[in-house]
Amino acid sequence: MAYGPGTRDGVILAVETSCDDTCAAVVTAGGEIRSNVIASQGLLHSRYGGVVPEIASRHHLELVDAVTADALEAAGTGLEEIDTVAVTRGPGLIGALLVGLSSAKALAAVRRLPLVPVDHLHGHVVASTLGPEPIEPPYLALVASGGHTFLARVDVPESYTVVGQTLDDAAGEAFDKGARLLGLGYPGGPAIDRLAEKGDPEVFDFPRSAPGELDFSFSGLKTALLYAIRDLGEGEADRRRPDLAASYQRAIVDALVSRTRAALEREGLRRLAIGGGVAANSELRAAVQALGVPVWVPPLELCTDNAAMIGGAARFLRPLPYPDYLSLDAAARIS
């Protein structure tokens, strides 16, 4: 397999700090993941009901060197054996991104290594190109996380074309907000997933909003859940929480799967990769298997934010030679 200008022999050190996970990984140009270290701040932010940017940034700085050292050690290598440094440039929380970017630039500059700035979403899109059985383009990628939900067409791994996206909340955000209304913890996805196992997804008929041709909308869903809880009354809503969770989850999964089916048909694609934290959801994982196309579902540590996927994307991109990246800035949004 040989793609694009970024393909070269070598070992890539990747750093990712776009949200609340401090991540570093060592990946080879051939797509082997030599290490993938993730220090999650999830529990810390659960006390606040969501990610607090200033707290996330502080913890990234505390952890970034140790996480990078762990990734090198777990890969059985050292900085002196690294050929390229890759780092998430955006999108994400600007203060969080800047910690990883500053660290990566300095690590690369001392040895005059090339540096690859990576679009975080590109990482999610190509996560399934890593590992022993990589997906090959053309394929459709469904990326659903706490910050992003979109469908992308991938013809070559160095780029992607968004064919549908959420117009308001991300799917993971819908899980978080639903979990809060149901009195569950943050992050909401795993909590709802667990509770939904004990409930009946057919009891409550929550809306499946279908804006545009391939877009998503989840903001109305949480309002519907809010009304359902209010109409039931406190005691009854509490008793029916498993059914509410199961029905709410079913509505999110239905929306994701129906748009994915439509995108596969419209784009004439026969392969699907899913990614993002919501790809960890058990109902979604089962539902996409019924779409009639081969599906690549990466292991959990490649679905949630991680640096291996950043190194994975970097393989396909043209690195910036030293010193062209010294003044590189992070970007909260990437157009």
């Binding site: 606040y48 700085l61 203060g95 800047l98 500053s102 300095a106 690590l107």
Partner: protein
């Protein structure tokens, strides 16, 4: 001993190599940079590489890296510390943390006869300040409202010499308390990396990953 020093506690970026022969190669910002939109991410590494190249000191010839740990701009400090820590790790060096207020104080009164009052703008209507008499720390770094700082100076019966972007911003309140502040365009208002290096010359080195910003203020978020 050759030292690389840097500071990002204010909107300005500062970097310096203090070579083992005593010669300094400094990137020292103009005072006007204190009022510009911060651009630490784009300016710091070019400044660092610039002073390294001018000094002719190779990375492997450095004996230590010094960094201003604040207090000051949270994002600026994190860019400075993430950079300094990674530079130290990549070179197998210890990191020497230095107070940014202490470095600012070094430029206020070279004769050392007056009480130096470095004042860094803490945003949200507050300042970070400290007071030094020569090498002696009179007041350790603290956060205060400008009026609170003025009151503390008045009660202590001091007539200090102040500098820093915080003293420019709140000049009126501070001067009313008898605090003397040089004109806005004075170079005394910037934190110089040369002063970071000089303070670091005698500071103990620490493992890079143990060096963190001196925030002096907790994040605003409240647990639910």
């Amino acid at each position: 001993m050759s030292l690389l020093g840097l500071d990002t506690s204010t909107a300005a970026v500062a970097a310096c190599v203090l070579r083992d022969d005593g010669e300094a190669f400094e990137f020292s910002p103009e005072p006007v940079a204190l009022r510009r939109r911060p651009a630490h991410a784009t300016e710091l590494m070019p400044a660092v590489v610039g002073v390294m190249e001018r000094s002719g000191v190779a990375w492997r010839e450095l004996d230590a890296i010094a960094v201003g740990v604040g207090p000051g701009s949270f994002t600026g400090l994190r860019i400075g510390l993430a950079t300094a820590r990674a530079l130290a790790v990549a070179n197998g060096l210890r990191l020497r943390p230095v107070s940014s207020l202490g470095a600012l104080a070094q430029g206020i009164d070279p004769s050392g006869t007056a009480v130096a009052l470095p004042v860094i703008d803490a945003k949200r209507g507050e300042v970070f300040a400290a007071a030094y008499e020569g090498e002696r720390v009179l007041w350790a770094p603290f956060a205060a409202r400008p009026k609170g700082l003025a009151e503390r100076v008045r009660k202590a019966g001091l007539a200090p010499l102040a500098a820093g972007d915080g003293s420019i911003r709140f000049r009126g309140v501070l001067e009313a308390a008898g605090i003397r502040i040089p004109p806005d365009e004075s170079g005394a208002h910037v934190v110089r990396a040369l002063h970071v290096c000089r303070l670091a010359a005698t500071a103990p080195g620490e493992p890079p990953e143990a060096v963190l910003p001196e925030y002096l203020r907790a994040p605003d978020a409240q647990p639910r």
